[in-house]
Symmetry: D2
Subunit: 412 residues, 4 copies
Amino acid sequence: MSFFGDLVSTVFERRYSRAVPSDAAGRTITELAQDLLGAKGEVSGSTLARLILDQYAAMEAQEKNAFFMFMLQELEIDPVDVVEKLKTYKEAPSKRSYREYAAASEPKRQELLRRLNQVPGATGLLVSMRKDLLRMMRDNREIEPLDVDFQHLFASWFNRGFLVLRPINWSSPAEILEKIIAYEAVHAIDSWDDLRRRLQPKDRRCFGFFHPAMPDEPLIFVEVALTKGIPNAIQSLLADMRDPIEADQADTAVFYSISNCQAGLAGISFGNSLIKQVAADLSRDLPSLKTFVTLSPIPGLNGWLDQSGLAVTQDTPEHALAAHYLLEAKLPNGLPVDPVARFHLGNGAAVHAVHAKADLSDNGLRQSGGVMVNYLYDLSQITTNHEQFVTEKTVAASAEVRTLSATVSSAN
Amino acid sequence: MSFFGDLVSTVFERRYSRAVPSDAAGRTITELAQDLLGAKGEVSGSTLARLILDQYAAMEAQEKNAFFMFMLQELEIDPVDVVEKLKTYKEAPSKRSYREYAAASEPKRQELLRRLNQVPGATGLLVSMRKDLLRMMRDNREIEPLDVDFQHLFASWFNRGFLVLRPINWSSPAEILEKIIAYEAVHAIDSWDDLRRRLQPKDRRCFGFFHPAMPDEPLIFVEVALTKGIPNAIQSLLADMRDPIEADQADTAVFYSISNCQAGLAGISFGNSLIKQVAADLSRDLPSLKTFVTLSPIPGLNGWLDQSGLAVTQDTPEHALAAHYLLEAKLPNGLPVDPVARFHLGNGAAVHAVHAKADLSDNGLRQSGGVMVNYLYDLSQITTNHEQFVTEKTVAASAEVRTLSATVSSAN
Amino acid sequence: MSFFGDLVSTVFERRYSRAVPSDAAGRTITELAQDLLGAKGEVSGSTLARLILDQYAAMEAQEKNAFFMFMLQELEIDPVDVVEKLKTYKEAPSKRSYREYAAASEPKRQELLRRLNQVPGATGLLVSMRKDLLRMMRDNREIEPLDVDFQHLFASWFNRGFLVLRPINWSSPAEILEKIIAYEAVHAIDSWDDLRRRLQPKDRRCFGFFHPAMPDEPLIFVEVALTKGIPNAIQSLLADMRDPIEADQADTAVFYSISNCQAGLAGISFGNSLIKQVAADLSRDLPSLKTFVTLSPIPGLNGWLDQSGLAVTQDTPEHALAAHYLLEAKLPNGLPVDPVARFHLGNGAAVHAVHAKADLSDNGLRQSGGVMVNYLYDLSQITTNHEQFVTEKTVAASAEVRTLSATVSSAN
Amino acid sequence: MSFFGDLVSTVFERRYSRAVPSDAAGRTITELAQDLLGAKGEVSGSTLARLILDQYAAMEAQEKNAFFMFMLQELEIDPVDVVEKLKTYKEAPSKRSYREYAAASEPKRQELLRRLNQVPGATGLLVSMRKDLLRMMRDNREIEPLDVDFQHLFASWFNRGFLVLRPINWSSPAEILEKIIAYEAVHAIDSWDDLRRRLQPKDRRCFGFFHPAMPDEPLIFVEVALTKGIPNAIQSLLADMRDPIEADQADTAVFYSISNCQAGLAGISFGNSLIKQVAADLSRDLPSLKTFVTLSPIPGLNGWLDQSGLAVTQDTPEHALAAHYLLEAKLPNGLPVDPVARFHLGNGAAVHAVHAKADLSDNGLRQSGGVMVNYLYDLSQITTNHEQFVTEKTVAASAEVRTLSATVSSAN
């Protein structure tokens, strides 16, 4: 056993001799992991997997870090073996030689994670494990490669084909609703009454993606308001005392909040599919809906204004600067600076309109002086927009926004 | 484009010019596959995936073979690249260098399959695709390595943690029940009335594993009879006119039929988990159950008798020969010749009893002269049995069966 | 205890001393019924109710008849008491005096039936009890008044507001589907394959009313074919080898079979609501549907022809006679002779077209020489038709059918 | 039309000419009601019923009162007709003569209510209508007889056999949970967090009865704590920071709160069934439960002490007085003064123990000086207790409580 294996064992032995009853045979988590990888037939895999997950759950940060190092170093590929098996395979391709290459080229930690996943309920625990990893990576860059393995597996497990789109409403279980309150990332939900105002009125909708192995955990959700016309401020949309309209009177669906729920699934993208799917479903159920649009924050505006030296003047009010920022402010790679803009433009939406005094919350004023933006999902233009954005980094925008942006260019 | 790419394109062009409307732009399946792998941003991935799956479904065998060859050869690893990326990674381990190695070491066809899977309903189609592959592999061993990729992905997707155990009974949807009729592999179900006799009586149970992405397709199912005492013949168990007993009067649960349903999931094992899970669930619901046992066929008995030269005599009746066969007939690797024995012994069961005249059907007489066997799942012994079978190839058996087997040894 | 109480007790004592273990205290069903009606507090009502239902279920016809006589005679109103309580109430109306009148005016057997119904599952048993009653009424007219009580209660319990409309399809539980096979009263379903042809194709629908207290028992169901144009024969509609059309390509919904399922609910009408509800639901889901029509048998045609002396001739082919029959053959009360015609015309439908050679089955030939009829449900005309039929007994019919009928009138 | 019909029409005409669009033909609610009762066939019953319910919902108190008077007076029995039909029936009993008597003896308002109920969703509205009636009866005793009709129908519709017992927990829909918060009548739930503390911990349960026609409305619910031993105070049971125990470690189920939810169902009893059913279900799921007990308020204690002149002294502390009150304080009819005592003793429970300082809330101190009582549901004694209570008004009690009560008797 290597240095790290020893370290981990030592840490665990110390800990478990005091606190956590290890398994009957007193094995450490790394020994259990080796067993699970099947060095020899002992007890059934699912029992071992459960023991490992239990031990992991009881660990402190230092121990978790040691376990990650164990996975990284002890369950690593053997480069000599990879090259050898590769050579054999390419010289004499066969099912057997390819299988051996495939086994050698992939680190055993991936197989470990797959085997841990055989326990019912394990998927959510593994998502939490990656959340731990992502946090610890900030202090220990050495363990970063391990995240490649997690991402690889999660991209496969959380494939769009395995996800289920479910409406979230006032008939949904409380245990899901409390997560909506907790996870709402754009416009905070401050109470169950506030939540009810977002879910219960007949002109409100909410949808989330769920994974069958984590049925109580939304992965991402979007909140939708059904309106007449495109709204220009979040305050009126979320007002306490509104008169809701009949759903079939609405001509516009406004995606006013999209929140990722699982830190452990960072970088595993499903938001794109979510909006398109929801737009398609709403469109089928409510044929009167003609316009699909967001009312989105511009989180990077004020930060960029500070850096760029542009300032609000009579000729360049903040919403004009916002138009300019969304159309012209680019990263070195040519993509927009604003992360929300990148998300919606990447989905094929267009910058449709900017509105001053649209979000007067502390957060809204701080990040963008209260300016918000509508991104338009024109189903007939999405593909073209998406292609041009991806290939040529063209930002689709309405004439109105272009004109507004131009006033800033000419003023500076 | 390589030779195979050309070939495939040619085949498809010929075909689709005549028959199948290809996509609007007239692209072939291989072009679509390359697009899907993201050479450039064009249309959304799910549209491409759907087009590919549609085209595949309309193909004839020759075209499918060509498509498999395309995946094998065009979406293959580049060995030079693998070695180079491996070197870089091991010299300077980082998230980036590891990610590049990981990407290089895995053939692009795996990513293609994952991306195809993002279409709702695709999982079942990919299982069918592997079924095609397995069949074609018989004639074209060259494509065998491709199966390693399918197996690798399916083992991850059909992980035990993603499967759902569901009871199958007379309240189940007809569309699932008709599959039970179709897939029953051990004791054929010849009509809906016959099916009802297996599902509806209060002393019968049936359970199957399902995958959430294929909710209408059982993956494997087991039929259970609740009895007083261990049965010694299948005829009485399946008799038309039985008086069922109350479930809570039973002391024994008999697993009398286990059937895999999906040819495309061959080698992806879940039978082991199924029996253990069902035994645990039954045991919780019906505390009076004390014995968990199979009533199993011995498919290899007569074939082995023919080869071994052993014959039925007064001193060595067929059920004694069966005991001998189950305990002594071994493959070169030391495991039992009989495939059903390997399955149950590998699960930790023991050979408990053999019965003459236990299956008088044509098939039962042909394969084993009507002899059947009970494998006993003694929950307190499963782990030990399993370990000893795996590590030392020890066959657990009752004293009675050992004695019976010994009469054959001494007689010869 | 009266004569009948004695008789019943005697019958039961004889029986139960031999066969059925009565309750611990050896009470007869009539004693139990008296107890349940609360003469004194003994055991809880639901235990008593269960005992009574169990004893009833084990009875033979003679005993059931005696039990019905007991209900009729022993649990009858007391006319003197009714008149007295009525007088008190009208002289001094109060909650108390009205309650006492109400209690006196209703026979105790109604309260008995309500109390029996407190056992989960009892509703279905009481429906069966009425089925027994209806059968026995043929031989014993004396018990007929009892049916008034059953009808009164069932009309309240099986109120439309308590019924649930559910689609019945190939995903429905087998235990419901086998009842569809059993209950289909118009065009017999001869196998599960035949059933599948009626439920699984994308241009077929089936809906039934269910009561929450009998969730596994359809009360009435209707089978629907989605077609292009109005069909003129049942053979093509039910053909084995059809090419189904896409549901959204259909312009017509054909109600080709409506079957009541529960003999014990005879005379409790819900068929009317069923067709209207199904038409409304289909119309919402499939906006392309423009025509709602039946393809119905004419069960009384040949019987009436025999009586009326009208005969098929060159000038009066059978379908013309059918038109004549449907429009002109009337009962003494002025309503159409044909029961199916009464049902659909009462719902507000119109006689739309008659078709020769439309049902070549034995039954179809026997009852109507193979002629069938379309009743048209024109949603804009239903109310007017219904009113005119109810108030003036006007039979709504198309010009075409009127003309056809007139050829017979003039020929005779 | 009678006086009341006129009055009602006038009131409505005035109102609807100003405010509510009556139906197209301008009919008043009483005309619609007469139509619905089928004077002649006009539009379908369900349309009429809907119109009536809509009009009713829009009415003010005065109008509702007039509508109730209309039902009482216009839809009343005709005493002459009752007597006549009764005579005919008794002279010549037949199905017909009995049917005519039955129709005459029941006021038409009952049929009106049944026909109103044919609209989906109507049941809940009719329950609300009775809630209005009960409130108005306080000021207008004249309408009290109408409540007899509502009670008669509701007793039939909300029969135990039609009710469904459902667990209520943290997975239940929010729209149901908010009603639990609203309806909790014993120990107020002050927030969603408080609710979660009652539902989510593994040693808590909650169950309610629901009616299928009002699926989102609990009728009555009971909250249960699973404990080790019988608790002697509500504070510890409802403490914010508790360490829940494992459900299978509990030996006692404590019914600590039972709340009726529907004012419109007052007097329609189902609480009795609820506790017995829940005890039976819990007992089956958690075999370790041995004791079923309440922790109940004593709402009448202090009021009775005031009247009786008994006072707390050193020798007669309040919990001793409570024992005395529960055992000895009787209504003129011989039943206990305390309403909660009547409920549980009527169910067959026994007074098991009284506890001082058991409810220190304002309400608890005010009504009983903080004393609470355990009623014991000993399943083997329930029947005997129930019988003796009903027939002889015997209060079952533990020796301990008897002794305690005796100290008061001897001290006074």
